[in-house]
Symmetry: C2
């Protein structure tokens, strides 16, 4: 018989801490803590395997599971000295989900299970607190009905509000035992009304239904969404933890709290957390009452605090990582309910990893692996420019760092919709709930009215790397009129605000943001990462300024310098248009002569910024019509500005129009049919290189021919480049080492890479276009159906964000292999936007590319991801 149930209690557990896959994070943590001698309420865990089997078996328990659970329940009764369903001495349990990785608030939890009309009396008697017993019972009914029976939470709230109103009570705590008994009766009536049957009094039935509900909650919509965002496989399943209840709400010698062994926001080495006296755990997490900082617990319960300090130190030392713990104090006795690796901001991740290495707790590799590449992007998030002067509208808790500017919206749906049409939004809510997850992801930042540093909004925002200001209590939201009010000031939907998640400030209007630089511990961690990584990291930069920024972030060269961007700047575009409108080669040459000095100047700037590092310059890529106006209005405007007749413009626009510009007359096809264009560019590059070289700058130009599909295209153009280069170098009397290579961005190029490598000294995989052609997917048009594809799981991720490994990746791998077969020292890199995506970087490492190239601000992410790839490969 397979073992589906693992018991823990009395200082001994059947499970262990390394059984997370089977017991879930929570279950493994409880087992481990029990074995460590840490005070944990006894209980048992039903394995994730049982959950998987449950789904496979058409939602039936696997054979033996229920019997094992009953057996464990018996042991639990013995450990606690209470009996489940016994009116005289009832055992109450919590039933909680627990997957391999934490999915905070995504799945269901039921507390106080085991209460019914009889056991509630027993609880009242034992606790000598009738009010507590009936409060627990009414909470249990409400929660059970919400989670298990599907009756809306609000309906119970309305009943409760009515009783409060009738009794002139302001808070729940103002209600007495008799009032709560009335609430319980009204709740039970509500159940009858809603379901046509009464609330289940059989505690075994309660247990069974609750286990089912937890299993089912693995596949509720918000859990699915969370998994998608966090890339958690759908087939892991959840474990179920059934644990003896302990009560933080048994008076002022009771309480509950959550804490982190280090500050999860800053990473400072300090015990950090919050607690509430006389409350149950969900009160803290849900953010309904604002809790007190953990340090205050020392005043309330010095003994407990001391014990807690010992426990947390033990736990951190044991797990060698910052822990996120939940605890409850029942009548002065401390219970640890959970421990897990704590979620943290990127800043905290960096500081903690750095500190723990310095403390000797972990080695350098571990320190590097502790900082997630996806996450460090946060550190490169906008900050408010320190030179900016602004007035603070309100102040909340600094729940997730960074700053964000956006238009105010009040619902998650609006956030998603507005963001979809390209608006930056700040989602403003009283508090967020798991249903808001999509909107939070879409927003630039989140602002909540209630809830603390560990509220849902704060935890989720930090995980997402979103700026969040939480618990900003001075704000009053008027949902109906879609506005909020602070001190008499009205902020309407669509108004701009700026929030600073590092300080908690809320500012009316747009404030200028700046990008931070790399420094301190983060720079140090990245240096360590550099020690481990094998992939080079270059940047995509088209200007001297971007090149400098990227170099500051550690870029080891330019992987893609797009020359066409230079064509648009200032009044160069006039000469470009003149060139396009020319009918003869002669006229085109004349126009090109006007553009050349600009191009040369750009290249000189870039070469200087990249002194000593390689610079890959791609020759003109887009179709010529991209440089022409398209609407009648624009044509009119440009005609006036340039003196070119509207007829001539229109004629040319019509002539150059393409059905599928993506597959049209561009890249090397232009270079072959209008050789004078590429020639001008190569002259500009080589002249710039020679001039720099003469000034003592170490230039390493790599000239890249785009859109090659057939080796003969490259053969012809390489000859041209070599001829021009020779001529220019002779003219300047200097030798410049340069390479000629190509973008591999068409399937045919990858398929015939062996032939192309005869003429190419390097390959740069242009995975943006390669994705478009391999998948037959226009990036500009796919918005109409690609979201559906990702939603349905046809593609796990948007293939323009993370490389489609089995399709596009297969071609890249093939290209590398075939290319190196012909030319073993072929340099290979990737310069699509995938170059900054950690998953894609792992793939690039795996297939042995020489480097990735990404936008300047993604360079640190890429450095770290490349190190992770090297450190985690098998």
């Amino acid at each position: 018989m397979k073992k589906y149930v693992y018991f823990f209690g009395n200082g001994k557990a059947e499970g262990k801490g390394d059984m997370k896959d089977l017991l879930g994070g929570k279950g493994a943590g409880l087992a481990e803590m029990t074995n460590l001698g840490i005070p944990v309420p006894p209980g048992f865990t039903i394995t994730t395997e049982a959950c998987i089997e449950y789904y496979k078996n058409n939602k039936q328990y696997p054979e033996g599971m229920w019997e094992q659970a009953l057996e464990a329940l018996k042991r639990l009764e013995e450990a606690v000295g209470k009996k489940f369903g016994d009116p005289s001495n009832p055992l109450l349990v919590s039933v909680r989900s627990g997957a391999r990785v934490s999915m905070p608030g995504m799945m269901d939890t039921i507390l106080n299970l085991g209460l019914n009309d009889e056991t509630v009396k027993g609880l009242a008697e034992i606790s000598n607190n009738e009010r507590f017993a009936y409060d627990s019972y009414r909470r249990f009914i409400q929660m059970f009905c919400d989670v298990v029976l599907g009756i809306e939470h609000n309906k119970f709230e309305r009943v409760l509000d009515k009783v409060k109103e009738n009794n002139g009570a302001k808070f729940d705590t103002d209600l007495g035992a008799e009032d709560l008994k009335e609430v319980v009766e009204l709740y039970k009536e509500l159940v009858e009304e809603e379901l046509g049957r009464s609330f289940p009094q059989d505690t075994m039935e309660q247990l069974r239904l609750a286990i089912n509900a937890v299993f089912e909650s693995w596949n509720n919509q918000r859990a699915i969404t969370y998994r998608k965002i966090n890339k958690i496989p759908d087939d892991w399943g959840t474990a179920v933890n059934i644990v003896a209840m302990v009560f933080g709400n048994m008076g002022n010698d009771s309480g509950t709290g959550v804490a982190f062994t280090r500050n999860p926001s800053t990473g400072e080495k300090e015990f950090f957390g919050e607690f509430l006296i006389n409350a149950q755990g969900e009160d803290v997490v849900a953010g309904i009452r604002t809790p007190e900082p953990i340090a205050k617990l020392k005043e309330h319960m010095p003994e407990v605090f001391k014990q807690l300090e010992e426990v947390y130190k033990k736990l951190e030392k044991h797990y060698k990582d910052m822990q996120d713990i939940e605890f409850t104090v029942e009548k002065g006795k401390l219970y640890l309910l959970q421990t897990r690796s704590g979620k943290r901001t990127a800043r905290a991740a960096v500081k903690i990893a750095y500190d723990m290495y310095k403390e000797g707790l972990i080695d350098k590799k571990t320190a590097v692996l502790r900082v997630q590449p996806e996450q460090v992007d946060q550190l490169l998030h906008p900050m408010i420019d320190p030179n900016e002067k602004y007035e603070v509208l309100a102040k909340g808790l600094p729940a997730s760092p960074g700053a964000a500017v956006g238009k105010v919206v009040f619902t998650a749906e609006d956030a998603e919709q507005w963001a979809e049409r390209g608006e930056d939004v700040i989602l403003v809510r009283n508090e967020t709930s798991p249903e808001d997850i999509g909107g939070m992801n879409a927003a630039k930042g989140i602002l909540t009215v209630t809830g603390g540093m560990t509220s849902h909004a704060a935890v989720v925002a930090r995980g997402m790397g979103k700026t969040c200001v939480a618990g900003c209590g001075t704000i009053r939201i008027d949902e109906e009129n879609k506005q909020f009010e602070v001190d008499g000031k009205i902020v309407k939907e669509g108004d701009f605000i700026t929030i600073n998640g590092s300080t908690g400030e809320v500012i009316l209007g747009k404030v200028k943001l700046i990008m931070p630089e790399l420094s301190g511990e983060f720079a140090e961690i990245l240096k360590w990462a550099d020690e481990f990584r094998k992939l080079g990291v270059r940047t995509n930069a088209d200007t001297p300024k971007d090149s400098e920024i990227a170099r500051g972030f550690g870029a080891e060269g330019i992987g893609l310098c797009r020359t066409e961007h230079m064509f648009f700047e200032g009044n160069r575009i006039d000469a470009v248009r003149e060139m396009i409108l020319s009918d003869t080669k002669e006229d085109r040459r004349k126009a090109l002569e006007k553009i050349k000095p600009y191009q040369k100047e750009d290249f000189i700037g870039i070469f200087k910024a990249m002194d000593g590092l390689p610079v890959t310059i791609r020759l003109l890529d887009p179709p010529l019509h991209e440089f022409l106006p398209h609407t009648d209005e624009d044509i009119e405007k440009i005609s006036k500005a340039s003196g070119i007749s509207t007829e001539a413009l229109k004629k040319k626009v019509e002539e150059l129009k393409e059905f599928n510009p993506m597959l049209g007359h561009r890249g090397c096809r232009l270079g072959l049919t209008y050789p004078e264009v590429y020639e001008m560019q190569v002259y500009a590059i080589m002249e710039a290189a020679c001039e720099c070289k003469k000034e003592g700058i170490d230039v390493k130009p790599e000239i890249m021919i785009p859109l090659v599909g057939h080796y003969k295209e490259l053969a012809i153009l390489k000859e041209m480049v070599d001829n021009v280069a020779k001529e220019v170098m002779e003219q300047y009397g200097v030798e410049v080492e340069y390479l000629v290579g190509t973008m591999i961005e068409l399937p045919r190029a990858a398929l015939t890479a062996d032939e192309i490598a005869q003429y190419a000294e390097f390959f740069s995989f242009g995975t943006n276009d390669l994705t478009q052609t391999t998948l037959g997917l226009s990036r500009d048009d796919s918005g109409k159906f690609l979201p559906y594809y990702v939603e349905k799981g046809i593609y796990k991720e948007d293939p323009f964000v993370s490389i489609d490994q089995s399709g596009v990746g297969q071609l890249v791998e093939m290209g590398v292999k075939k290319g190196r077969n012909t030319r073993p020292d072929l340099k290979t890199g990737i310069c699509g936007e995938h170059g900054g995506d950690p998953e894609s970087i792992y793939f690039c490492h795996k297939i042995g590319l020489n480097y990735v190239s990404c936008s300047p601000y993604r360079v640190p992410v890429a450095r770290l991801a490349a190190a992770h790839a090297a450190l985690t490969e098998e």
Copy 2:
């Protein structure tokens, strides 16, 4: 020392008939004929290797070649009993090109070489014919200057015309010896003027320059063009044949002719050809004088005719193929100058192959291989509808069969330009010359004023499978006014004419053409082909009518039935537009219900036509905007017709607009996002199939999902198809065997064919789209640069015409292998336009596809090509 020169003469040759690669077709034929005891003037052949070496060595002869040639020249002098350059008894030679395969008129020939101011006197003396000697000399100067020294032919003609005018002579033959002496002097002055040096008198220099010129002519523009059109490799080179001159122009007991051992136009078993009394060979080929039919030779020279009959029978029996021979009679003595396999029309090829098999001359395989797949397309060329009544404007020779309708143009350049912009043209010329080759290829048909059945126009047109009427002497071309006149009627450039190459008729205006059916010997040959081929041949057909035609041509099923074409017919388009304009699924369904009966009706018709054969039906493929109007004018029109407001139409058009429709929202992407569309289609297919089945028709529907890139797309849609099929079959109470498969038309599909084959029962390679995506080449836009690519040899052929084997072909091969790995019995076929291209069919055979599918009229071509593929594979 390598042997570069092969001698033949005195009934013995160093070379043999199977040495075509080395000696060229002409050289090998001369050697073979010599060995067979056929009267051939002695001579020697410089090998193709020497030509190749010449190009490799920077246009220097390979070592020893010249010495070997001098040695052979000596033997030739001995054989003939004359001496090269000897004024008293001069040997004259012809210097001719001769490649592995015949390239008629493409390369250069020089006759009468060895004449100079001294030897001409000797020739006059020996021949006792001063006029002949000086005529030969002036011809030699003219030809040598044109071919070797690069002085334009016309300049000499002008001199000649002037002398004729001065002497009141109408024809060349009216000039006497003294006149010709004057001509020679004037020619020599012209050379002095043009080149600043005198005409070379040294006969060895003449020989050397002539050999060079022949070598060089391998790479003249028209030879290159001819090789491109005929797919002859550029690196074969040409041999040079130096043969003792014999003279057909030594009086009325002399003559020259060309003949075929069977009729090259009809294939009839009859000696067929033409001759001219007192003329040299070029007079026949160039079409300047209209020659007499060969039968007349019997009257003129009965002995010679008898000898010629013996020779041609011997040759055909020896070569087991119809021969094209050139002969000259010098003072009553017959010389064979050349024999080679004769070019023939498709009709003749079929008849000759069939007859020779029946005669026991060749076996069935050889008979099948004798008919070229590229060529039989001719047999399926349009014919004039026999029911048409028309008036014949003029009548010429039926030089190349078939009929053609087009606008009159008078130059090859115009033919090319007009054809490029999509016009059908008939090229009308006095006579064609090798320079016209491009224009002839571009024209639908060719009409010439002079020249016989073996004139340049006739030979080339037959080779190209173009309709040609030659020697239509009643026509007078007025080049200046771009018109021609027949019996007082004026036909201007751009006017439509119809020509019938099978009857020689020229008709004013457009006459209705029809396609012929398969029958007789052709049907027989195709049946033989079917015995050998391994590839199946299906057709692309969208209507019952096309299906019937294709079946008549031997199609073994439908490989591609495009359902969208059905959407456009009649007033269905209204319902289609209604569907597209619907905003809800409900409204879309309503509109689709209107379309369904039409679709069903179509399918019933097709299933009936294809009773017993498989029918692959592709579900809707194009993006929806293809069904909407695009210009304001069309929108207006459709708005009026349909009652849909212009605003609604414009809004939808705007909404559906795509940047790259080729890579857009189409194919299965539509099927997934608008499932009701595909559902309707599957209902229509399955209902039609069930109804047919009930009527006793053997239906084999194969439902094809287009544009699949990821196996999950197919998985979802296959489930839908299976569900609908099950429902419909239950409803009708019949079982229909059907397959579900997919088009492989995206690189990703080929790359992941192993995954896709899990859900696909067949693959149909859509190589049109696969070419577009693999090469990143929009078919609609590539016209701007693809001709340049083909011209420069980047792609050997337009990749949309003949499959790009190393790129697209690689993916197809990969797709087949991976697909069969998963599903060994996977059916694979190709349904792009490559399915009718012989080269592509060979490739499909090689990689083991099950079938090709092509347009109905290409089915016979495909059947034959498939047989060739099977018969010629190694």
